[in-house]
């Protein structure tokens, strides 16, 4: 078996305990409510019969271990039961909303990458000069601006006076590509700005560190063009750790999406989660939680694959020394 394949298999095996852990946490969401969950959901004024009925529906009358196995068994097949509120299948509700959150998150990430790369590189290449200072101040601003505030600001400054940008809602790219761009741009900026700032700092710092490496000195000592060294080798080596961070930042990105969806009225997973929490709609909360966990694990797996592809030290196994 090739080293790469073995490495990836190892990573894949790691996903199992992580997902099991997530399932325990998700399962416990309902168990940890004070008192009887059914009573908690229905409220003080509900009748005893209604509470008993809900207990049966949720399987609360069974021993907790049986409940958990049952939960995992169904969750593994993508079945989280029905919404207590709307009686819809939770999975169907998730599937309907995933495209919106996916479009928003991907657009936000895209904006973060497109902005942070040139700005971070310029900051590193022109270290200590005006461009560097500007990029650092910009990054600091970006990191310290709350996304809901930025979202409201964008709505006020662009969406309200300019008809091109809708104030509310989002069109999917599969429905109407042009409307998709105009309706996604502002929320994506609100979501991606903090990420852009973070990546800018990382990339700038990474490149500056990388420029101190011995191979850069070697390249200089051997008359190799400075642009080649900086824009290809230094950049590539500085991007490697950045990719890992992008994977780890997915959590922050999804957390940001919850708020941005709220501000821009986007019918995505985040809005669904907030509604479910207000309605004590536990099956939906559990569905969302597991979805986020699976996405996180999958994204990090993808990052590992990408990293391994780009870094021969991993692709070909570690140093023998």
């Amino acid at each position: 078996m090739s080293r790469l394949l073995r490495y990836l298999l190892g990573r894949l095996l790691w996903a199992i305990p992580v997902l099991l852990g997530a399932s325990v946490v998700t399962f416990m969401i309902m168990q940890l409510t004070p008192g009887d969950p059914a009573r908690f959901i229905l409220g003080q004024r509900a009748s005893q019969e209604a509470v008993m009925e809900l207990r049966r529906e949720l399987g609360l009358h069974q021993p907790i271990f049986v409940q958990y196995v049952d939960f995992v068994f169904h969750a593994a097949q993508g079945d989280f039961g029905q919404s207590l509120q709307t009686r819809e299948e939770v999975t169907a509700m998730l599937l309907q909303r995933i495209p919106y959150t996916a479009q928003l998150s991907i657009a936000g990430l895209l904006i973060a990458v497109v902005v942070s790369f040139p700005v971070g590189v310029i900051g590193a290449v022109r270290e200590g000069e005006a461009a560097d200072h500007a990029s650092r101040v910009g990054a600091l601003l970006g990191i310290s601006t709350p996304n809901f505030w930025l979202g409201l600001l964008l709505i006020l400054v662009f969406a309200v006076p300019l008809e091109a940008f809708p104030i509310f809602g989002m069109t999917l790219v599969t429905e109407d590509p042009i409307a998709a761009v105009t309706s996604t741009l502002l929320p994506a900026i609100a979501l991606g700005t903090a990420q852009a700032a973070l990546l800018t700092r990382l990339l700038r710092g990474g490149m500056l560190d990388e420029m101190q490496e011995g191979y850069v000195r070697t390249a200089r000592a051997y008359g190799i063009d400075n642009r080649e060294t900086t824009y290809v080798y230094v950049l590539k080596n500085a991007v490697l750790p950045t990719i890992t961070v992008i994977g780890l930042q997915l959590g922050a990105l999804l957390g940001g999406a919850v708020i941005v969806e709220q501000v821009f009225g986007i019918p995505g997973i985040g809005r669904l989660a907030i509604q479910a929490i207000f309605n004590k709609d536990f099956p939906v909360i559990q569905g969302v939680t597991m979805l986020v966990a699976v996405t996180f694990v999958a994204a990090n797996l993808l990052v590992d694959v990408l990293y391994a592809q780009l870094d021969p030290r991993i692709r070909l196994g570690g140093s023998e020394r």
Partner: protein
């Protein structure tokens, strides 16, 4: 005209705790076809001297004073473009820490290939080369040949290996190969065979001897190993705390050292033929580079120290077969 002529070179590092005077007034010439050894304890400024010659010293370091002439041209006044042509082409450097000198995410062969390619006529735009669109079969063949010459087994396959797949000794040989790729006129070799086993060392010494014979290349050979100096070098420069203590023909300096420091260096070599004899260990430490004595740099450790040694560092006295920076040699000076 000498290939290399260094006059009164001073290289300082401005650190937070003060100015480190790593090199303080070095003079050194190397003729074509000559191999000059540079020896001295750790921290005496050998590597800094080598980087200064190629104007590679970087912040916080600076060349504070002095001139470096390569083939008559003042290296320190050349533009970056002019330097880029000399570096790796006519002058090349073997770094002391070869594993660090290679890019971990590039194959070793490719890195040598790029050096050769960037010094060949009709070079393409560097970004085109960097994107890997510029595989030159001639260059590749030359690199494989060089890897073979420096004793890397299976060079064809090794060409596409990454640095971490090489052993320490092999990456060192690849470094030597990189330095010799473009038929340099001057090689600055910073401990190129330290840690290699004897047979590989002999092979590499042979390579350098051939190079000198065929191309009249000049070599500055930095080492701690005086036996290599004895085997290889025409002349030897003994450095201590940023100063040259003694310089002369290898034969003269090693068989009859005039500076007590050279004597101490020779005495600290373990003698395999007399294992019972207690090994000589030089007393004291190399002076703190931030706080060096005003007088002779070696005075505090010197077995033959006099009062005036503490006042001024001695000038270099020319005694015919060598120059010595020690008042003991004053009487023999011509």
């Amino acid at each position: 005209m000498s290939v290399l002529q260094i006059d009164d070179l001073h290289t300082y590092f401005d650190t937070e705790s003060g100015t480190v005077r790593a090199v303080e007034g070095i003079d050194l010439t190397i003729e074509a076809g000559e191999i000059v050894g540079l020896v001295g304890e750790s921290g005496s400024g050998k590597s800094v001297t080598a980087s200064s010659i190629m104007d590679l010293v970087q912040h916080p370091g600076r060349i504070a004073d002095g001139t470096v002439r390569y083939d008559g041209q003042d290296v320190l006044s050349l533009s970056e473009d002019e330097l880029a042509e000399l570096r790796g082409g006519e002058i090349s450097m073997i770094f002391q820490d070869p594993m660090d000198a290679f890019n971990p995410t590039q194959t070793v062969g490719r890195q040598l290939h790029d050096v050769l390619r960037s010094h060949r006529e009709g070079s393409v735009h560097p970004l085109v080369r960097a994107l890997g669109l510029d595989h030159d079969a001639d260059c590749k063949a030359a690199v494989v040949e060089m890897l073979d010459a420096v004793g890397i087994p299976n060079p064809e396959a090794r060409y596409s290996d990454y640095p971490h797949e090489f052993s320490g000794g092999m990456i060192q040989r690849a470094m030597v190969g990189m330095a010799l790729l473009c038929d340099p006129k001057l090689v600055l070799a910073d401990e190129p065979t330290t840690g290699l086993d004897v047979s590989i060392e002999r092979q590499i010494l042979g390579l350098f001897k051939d190079l000198v014979e065929e191309l009249d290349t000049a070599v500055l050979w930095i080492t701690h190993d005086l036996s290599v100096v004895a085997k290889l070098c025409d002349r030897v420069v003994v450095m201590y705390a940023g100063k040259v203590m003694e310089v002369g023909s290898t034969e003269a300096v090693l068989s009859d050292p005039a500076s007590p420091y050279t004597q101490a260096l020779l005495d600290s070599i373990p003698r395999y033929d007399r294992p019972d004899e207690e090994m000589y260990v030089m007393e004291g430490d190399v002076p703190d580079p931030l706080n060096r004595p005003d007088g002779c740099r070696f005075a505090d450790r010197c077995p033959e120290v006099h009062d005036r040694c503490h006042d001024h560092h001695p000038p270099r006295f020319d005694t015919g077969d060598r120059e010595v920076a020690c008042y003991l040699a004053e009487g023999d000076a011509e």
